[in-house]
Symmetry: C2
Subunit: 230 residues, 2 copies
DNA sequence: TAGTGGTCTAGACCACGTA
DNA sequence: ACGTGGTCTAGACCACTAA
């Protein structure tokens, strides 16, 4: 009859301990909220908060009527902070630099048109991002000017397109993908690498409702790592 | 005096709309919970739930006494589902295959010892994962047998080490990093690629309290993408 | 249809951090 | 010192879904 735990973080910690020690083993259905609330001497809402948090991380599976179970094959989830290049660099004490390569209107190739689900003429902006003066990342971006009219006259020559868009073109949702790819001749020249060098690639498309705002491919020079905790 | 919104998801949607339309502009402090609760005709806890959710995604910044603000430079967060290779493959309708390359005890090199913060002899397990019979990912794993004694006699010859560990060695937390790297001669042979091919690399270390359970480097053949939504 | 989690309420007290 | 978000409560009703 311990009158101990009562905050939701304490209850979460205790539940995590039971999962890790297999007191609640994979496949088990754990006691329901009402029972746990009584055990811990707290309100059901407090138990709910704790268990919901674990479920958000994939450590529990909850279904009405069926109850709460410890999954047999937990699919751990990690939260990734999508880097804002300049800030990431400045946090590492490096000087950020930016250079526009070109900024023109043209009809996108098939793959880009498919990603944005639109085939009209777009703004095509290529740029190079530098760390302490060294080429660091090459960015290839397409912007739909019918969604962001102001982009036609945006000062991409002096400021990075990502930051301009963040400030002028909010989005509702997006997709992001990570992959690896060899440097082609053009990118290798930009990043001052041998052709074929292994690049880390982030490809992102953002939407304002049903319309694509922008799609961007960022190719990072070797050495770049994206990290997080589990 | 709209008596409309009342669920926390509706309130979150409305708040998101105000952020996107800049009715609440970057840098602004938004009304406090009590005021919003009155506006929406709901309890303060309901507003709290909605705003907390947006803050978890990085779309709002909340501080006691200071209130809730729309960040000037939102750092969007994305949740990434860490793939379980076999399941990911089977979801794509491909046959999963596994082959053990070697399984031996040895003292880890410096970089591994540093990652695990331990220098004793470890189990070193290398394996190859196949999709429809084609080499797909090469895995290089180190396991601390003092943390997971049963690993010494685990059947890594027939079953993939990741799944065995998930079932037998729970962890409390971990680190994961994504990068790109060229294939060295050994990995190129394993994956049936030309040396230097651009590989997507996932490097993960998991801990049980203060002790490292395992560290693993997974190198994926070209074509692999890790995706999520924003 | 009945049991379980999901949510909401109205009120309370607390912790933090700004002023 | 005091305003704001963070959390907890006790109770209620609802939504989903397994049996």
């Amino acid at each position: 009859m311990s009158r101990t735990a009562s905050t939701w973080t304490e209850i979460r910690a205790e539940a995590l301990r039971r999962i890790n020690t297999r007191e609640w083993a994979p496949g088990d259905t754990i006691p329901n909220e009402a029972e746990l609330a009584e055990e811990f001497g707290c309100a059901r809402a407090t138990v709910n908060r704790a268990l919901r948090d674990l479920a958000d991380e994939g450590l529990l599976e909850r279904r009405r009527k069926a109850g709460t179970r410890v999954p047999l094959h937990p699919v751990r989830r990690a939260t990734l902070r999508i880097p804002v290049i300049r800030r990431e660099m400045e946090d590492h004490g490096k000087a950020y630099g930016y250079r526009l390569i070109f900024n023109r209107a043209e009809v996108p190739p098939d793959d880009v048109a498919a990603r944005m689900r639109a085939r009209r003429s777009m703004l095509h902006v290529a740029s190079l991002h530098l760390a302490d003066g060294m080429p660091f990342m090459a960015e290839d971006r397409w912007i739909d000017p019918t969604v962001v009219p102001a982009a036609r006259t945006a000062p991409f020559a002096t400021g990075n397109a990502n930051e301009w868009l963040l400030a002028h073109a909010p989005y509702t949702h997006g997709e992001i993908a990570f992959s690896a790819e060899p440097a082609d001749a053009a990118v290798a020249t930009l990043l001052d690498l041998a052709p074929g060098a292994a690049l880390f690639v982030i490809c992102r498309t953002t939407w304002d409702g049903a319309r694509a705002v922008t799609t961007v491919t960022q190719r990072f020079a070797p050495g770049y790592r994206l990290q997080t905790t589990l």
